[in-house]
């Protein structure tokens, strides 16, 4: 009697438990749209991994500027802020910058950003977080992510759940496809980035700023850093690196097993393949136009021929390729290969300083040039605190912060700002910085800079590489 009663009770409880589990599993079946979105964006997320990358593409303008030009430019940040007040008109919700300051007073900004660089984390907390707290009473909550796509998914899901305000993400460190995803879904706040006071320090006529991987920015994100590809080599083994792709192929054949590149879709690997296309085409301007199958078919065979030719003499006979920048860094650090690459020209110097690389590591660029791009901060439409986020974005662009950002002893990052809008004094400070033993001079990098191809090309290049090189 007792046993039967207990049995019935247990089964009842069991089904309660089942109902809970089933409810959990069932929910996803009811929302099938959510999963594919993640997958679509995950493939491109690799790009953001080394978004902590930057170049001094803009800094090169500093030495070139004449005294006369500098004097013409407004001399103080204060004067600039006065001048810019009018453009706040386009910004939704707020009429003047004073409104923004008032609205943000005493609030918290949740800044979702990749968190795998301890120097960057400390820098953001100290030089941005502490300053905006003290000056504007805005608390910066840095949310460390393994991948920017996680923040994009949060915003997409909140949108799907009907959260049109009070969202959990106030600001995202972003560029490329993640920006494209949110812009196309119309989930971004703005336009705002050309209206904030320190937008005066940004040259919005520069296509490398106004277009994020071919996608028009339209005031929906504000630049933070800039990236440029450099090739890395170990000077202990390679006294003089090859400066053309022809010379590289010769070197690889003469020294089998000591060169490799990352497999696309890793962003570094894809960048390497893009460089091959630019080399094969002679004229890279064709890639600034939307994708053209005829052009692709006329150039691609030369690229596949080159890559298949060197494949047997790559690291491990080309049977496998490193899939992350960390893996390639390890191979180079352990002298298993003699070459690497970086999307931040100063990163190799930093890696020597923090003990990752041996001190014989140096960088170089090919005679045919290297790709450069920008990264940004953006504000979701449903952000709880767009005013606070704008204040942080504005502080990033202040000359005070830019000088800290460029200082290798503090952070050592490239600048998205137009230094011709700075005072001569400020530019002198910038030029006095020690750039690090493995970092190329500003003018060399600037002269080598090439624009990224239009956003419609990379997927074709990636698919072509997988079909014609990896699986061939």
């Amino acid at each position: 009697m007792l046993a039967r009663h207990r049995k019935r009770f247990s089964i009842l409880l069991l089904f309660t438990a089942l109902a809970l589990v089933a409810a959990a599993c069932g929910t996803d079946e009811a929302e099938p749209a959510a999963a594919p979105e993640t997958q679509a964006t995950t493939t491109t997320a690799a790009m953001v991994e080394e978004t902590p990358t930057t170049t001094e593409a803009m800094e090169e303008e500093a030495p070139a500027t004449t005294e006369a030009m500098a004097e013409e430019a407004p001399t103080t940040t204060e004067a600039m802020e006065e001048e810019m007040m009018g453009t706040m008109a386009d910004v939704p919700m707020y009429d003047t910058w004073e409104d923004v300051l008032a609205a943000a007073d005493g609030t918290t900004v949740n800044w979702h950003m990749w968190g795998g660089n301890e120097n960057l984390n400390s820098w953001v907390d100290t030089y941005i977080g502490d300053v905006v707290k003290e000056r504007y009473n805005v608390t910066l909550n840095r949310v460390p992510l393994g991948d920017t796509v996680e923040a994009v998914n949060l915003v997409l899901n909140e949108h799907q759940a009907g959260v049109t305000e009070g969202g959990s993400v106030d600001m995202i460190w972003i560029n490329g496809d993640n920006f494209k995803t949110l812009k196309e879904a119309e989930l971004l706040f703005g336009p705002w980035s050309e209206g904030i006071p320190n937008a005066a320090h940004v040259n919005w006529d520069d296509p490398s700023i106004a277009y994020d991987f071919g996608v028009s920015v339209d005031g929906l994100e504000s630049p933070w850093g800039s990236a440029q590809m450099v090739f890395v080599y170990n000077s202990a083994y390679v006294p003089e690196p090859p400066r053309t792709f022809e010379a590289l192929a010769e070197w690889v054949h003469a020294n089998p097993g000591l060169f490799t590149y990352m497999a696309p879709p890793d962003f570094h690997g894809l960048s390497f393949v893009k460089h091959m296309f630019y080399w094969a085409a002679d004229d890279y301007s064709v890639f600034q136009q939307p994708f053209d199958q005829a052009v692709f078919d006329s150039i691609a065979p030369k690229v596949w021929e080159y890559l298949n030719d060197i494949e047997p003499d790559l690291w491990r006979g080309g049977d496998t390729y490193p899939t992350s920048i960390g893996a390639l860094q390890d191979l180079l650090a352990n002298s298993e290969v003699y070459f690497g690459m970086s999307l931040n020209p100063r990163r190799p110097s930093t890696l020597i300083n923090n003990g990752t690389y041996p001190d014989t590591i140096r960088t170089w660029v090919m005679d045919t040039g290297t790709l450069t791009n920008k990264n940004y901060v953006t504000i979701p439409k449903n952000a709880s605190n767009p005013a606070g986020a704008m204040i942080v974005a504005n502080h990033i662009l202040s000359t005070e912060n830019q000088l800290i950002q460029a200082n290798p002893e503090q952070w050592g990052w490239g600048l998205p700002t137009d230094t011709t809008t700075w005072t001569q004094e400020e530019r002198d400070i910038l030029n006095s910085y020690d750039r690090g033993v493995a970092t190329l001079p500003f003018d060399v990098l600037a002269a080598a800079g090439l624009p990224e191809p239009h956003a419609s090309w990379p997927t074709q290049m990636e698919a072509g590489w997988i079909e014609n090189v990896l699986e061939a």
């Binding site: 438990a17 599993c25 996803d28 079946e29 400390s122 003990g355």
Partner: protein, 293 residues
């Protein structure tokens, strides 16, 4: 005891028995040492490597020990910026709540599955194992939307509820095999002797299942402890747990920092394991194999 049989005119019965057992016992001894060695090598050695790595400044192939040492990684790890201690607290709270919830949800299910035969039992078992087959992230994507509406995102309860999805199957799996070897007749005996339900549970049921229960709770705790993607999603990135602090450093971050945070990440698990190893050794039905080692 030697391997050569003692020559004697009339070997006693005791000696005969021990001689018969001798080869088998030897084998067990040998197996035991091999197992211990394998466990020590596979558990302790990576730990030593992590410890070295966390203090290493320059450590390149083929050096066996780091060429230069530094405290940079630990300085960062214990700094507020790394958010290691803040996230450690959150991780503990979430894992403990998940374990409590798994007890409430999983015990009845495990008991029913372990002690009763009923129509459709296989299907029920299969459905219960579903979260192991279907990645928790897939479910979490949908649940996130529901939780936003319910206001459960970025809360400890919300995150624990989602951790319950991957944890429940393991809890039920372990506990149902415990209950399969447990006779409820003892409970009935105690009841007939006048013990109330609470006393029966305290003095009969609990002692019988305790070591299995400990293992099940340990599993649940560790599954919750190592969740990453579901936590980011349901926690909105605002509720920071230890894996969220650690994962960005794996793969491309500073390996020394990754090593030092990893050591903090594995510390609670190792501590719990050491503290409970004695009860695990009591020949429990589930971890009997481990217990004997």
């Amino acid at each position: 005891m030697t391997s050569t049989p003692t020559p004697g005119p009339a070997p006693g019965p005791d000696q005969a028995v021990s001689e018969r057992l001798l080869p088998e016992r030897r084998q067990i001894n040998w197996l035991r040492w091999a197992t211990v060695t394998i466990i020590v090598v596979s558990v302790v050695l990576p730990g030593v490597s992590l410890l070295l790595r966390s203090f290493a400044f320059r450590w390149h192939y083929p050096d066996v020990v780091p060429g230069e040492w530094g405290l940079d990684a630990w300085t960062y790890t214990i700094d507020d910026t790394s958010r290691v201690f803040e996230s450690l607290g959150n991780s503990l709270r979430i894992a403990l709540l998940t374990t409590t919830l798994a007890l409430l949800v999983g015990m009845p299910a495990a008991r029913a599955l372990g002690q009763h035969q009923f129509r459709g039992k296989r299907i029920v078992e299969w459905i219960l194992m579903m979260p192991i087959i279907v990645p928790a992230l897939v479910a979490a994507m949908g649940i996130h939307i529901v939780f936003i509406r319910l206001g459960l995102t970025a809360t400890v309860l919300g995150v624990s509820l989602v951790h319950l999805i991957p944890a429940t199957p393991y809890f039920v799996l372990v506990m149902s095999s415990v209950f399969a070897n447990y006779s409820p007749a003892l409970e009935e005996t105690a009841r007939t002797l006048g013990a109330n339900k609470i006393r029966v549970f305290r003095y009969v049921t609990l002692p019988a299942i305790s070591s299995g229960l400990l293992v099940a709770c340990l599993f649940t705790f560790l599954i919750s402890w190592s969740q990453y993607v579901t936590t980011v999603l349901i926690g909105s990135g605002i509720l920071i747990t230890l894996p969220m602090v650690l994962f960005p450093f794996l793969g491309q971050g500073n390996a020394a920092v990754a090593a030092s945070i990893t050591l903090i990440f594995v510390a609670p698990a190792v501590m719990v394991l050491i503290l409970t190893s004695r009860s695990l050794g009591r020949g429990s039905t589930v971890m009997g194999g481990f217990g004997k080692v």
